[in-house]
C-alpha cells in the first residue's frame, strides 16, 4: 500500500485517498468550436507516460481536499505534492532520468 503525503494531514494510507486522473488538463475555452475528434480527445485521451506523471488525488476520508501530485509510474514513488492550481514543480532533479521519455504523447488534449 502506498503512503501518500497529504498536504494537510501528512502521510496516510492509500485507501484513504481517491485517484482523480491526470492533472493539468484544461477545459476547452470554447467547447463548441471543437471537432468531435478534439472533444473526444479532451474527454477520454490521457497521457500514459513511463516515469513522472502529474495527477490529481483527493484525501477522501480525511480532510476531503484535492491536491496534485507527481508520481513515478514505474516506481510508484511520489516525487512531489503541490496544491491545485499550481504549476507542476520541476522534479527532474529528484527523479532518475533513466526513464525513456519518448512515450507517445500523442494528442495533447489542451
Amino acid at each position: 500500500m502506498l503512503l501518500i503525503d497529504c498536504p494537510h494531514c501528512g502521510p496516510r494510507d492509500e485507501v484513504e485517498f481517491h485517484y482523480g486522473g491526470q492533472a493539468h488538463v484544461p477545459y476547452p475555452v470554447d467547447p463548441y468550436a471543437l471537432s468531435d475528434r478534439a472533444w473526444a480527445e479532451f474527454l477520454f485521451y490521457r497521457d500514459n507516460p513511463r516515469g513522472p506523471f502529474a495527477e490529481r488525488w483527493v484525501h477522501a476520508v480525511g480532510c476531503r481536499k484535492w491536491f496534485n501530485a507527481i508520481r513515478d509510474t514505474v516506481t510508484y514513488e511520489f516525487l512531489a505534492v503541490y496544491p491545485m492550481g499550481s504549476p507542476p514543480p520541476n522534479t527532474s532533479t529528484a527523479s532518475p532520468p533513466a526513464h525513456d521519455s519518448a512515450h507517445d504523447s500523442g494528442s495533447d488534449p489542451s
Binding site: C9, V61, G62
Partner: protein, 218 residues
C-alpha cells in the same frame, strides 16, 4: 409548500427517536469484558454536533468561536475544548466539528449560531462561513479499557501509539472499511464517530474485534 407553519419551532417528539446503534445495545453489553484485558463499548446517543466551515483567523471564524464557545483547533489531529464536554475536532483546513458529549442536540442551536455570520454592515468584514447542525450525521461510540487500543489497531489506518496519537488527538480515518473520526479522549478512552448508517456495522465489527479479550479474561 402551501401550508403555513407557525414560526415557533415545534418541540421534537424526543421520546420517539432511536439512536443509530439502538438495536445493538444488547450486543455491546455482551461484548464488554472484565479483568486486566477489559474493554467496553457503549454508544453516547444524540450528541450535539455542529459542522463549522471557516478559515481560522478570518472574521467568520472569530465570530463562530465567540458564539459556539470553543476555539478552532489549529492543525491536523488536534482538538480544543473539554473532551468530556464541548470540544472541537479538526477535519480539514477550513472544516471543523464541534461535539458536546455532555448533552444532547437542541433544535435550532445551529441556526442561532449561524446568525452571527449574517452581519452585512459595511466594514463588517468578510464573513464567509457556515454553521450547520450535524447531530444526526454521526453517532458517538465510546471504546474504553486497557485493551481499547488493541481492538482499534486491528483495523485502524493511523498509528494509535501514544507517541503518535496522544490524549486529545483526533483524526478522520478508516477503521476497518468504515470512515470515521477517531478521538482519544483519555488514555484508555477512544471515541469513534462513524456516520449513522455505518453505526450498526461498526458495532458488529468492534464486537468481533473485542471477542479475543473476552477469551483472555475468561
Amino acid at each position: 409548500m402551501a401550508d403555513s407553519h407557525t414560526p415557533t419551532p415545534r418541540p421534537e417528539p424526543v421520546h420517539l427517536r432511536r439512536s443509530p446503534a439502538h438495536d445493538m445495545r444488547a450486543a455491546m453489553e455482551q461484548a464488554c469484558t472484565a479483568g486486566p484485558h477489559r474493554v467496553a463499548l457503549r454508544e453516547i446517543p444524540f450528541v450535539a454536533q455542529l459542522g463549522i466551515r471557516a478559515v481560522p483567523g478570518e472574521e467568520a471564524a472569530a465570530r463562530i468561536e465567540r458564539v459556539v464557545g470553543v476555539t478552532l483547533p489549529a492543525a491536523v489531529g488536534t482538538t480544543s475544548g473539554d473532551p468530556d464536554g464541548l470540544h472541537c475536532v479538526w477535519i480539514g483546513p477550513d472544516e471543523f466539528l464541534t461535539i458536546d458529549v455532555s448533552r444532547t442536540h437542541v433544535q435550532g442551536e445551529a441556526e442561532a449560531a449561524a446568525a452571527v455570520l449574517d452581519d452585512d454592515r459595511p466594514g463588517a468584514g468578510r464573513t464567509a462561513g457556515q454553521v450547520v447542525d450535524l447531530s444526526g450525521n454521526r453517532t458517538v461510540l465510546e471504546l474504553t479499557g486497557p485493551s481499547a487500543r488493541a481492538v482499534l489497531e486491528k483495523g485502524c489506518h493511523v498509528d494509535l501509539h501514544p507517541r503518535e496519537f496522544p490524549v486529545g488527538c483526533a483524526v478522520s480515518t478508516l477503521v476497518g472499511p468504515v470512515p470515521m473520526i477517531v478521538h482519544r479522549a483519555h488514555e484508555e478512552t477512544f471515541r469513534l464517530l462513524p456516520r449513522s448508517s455505518f453505526a450498526q456495522y461498526t458495532v458488529r465489527w468492534l464486537c468481533d474485534a473485542m471477542l479475543e479479550f473476552r477469551a483472555l479474561s475468561a
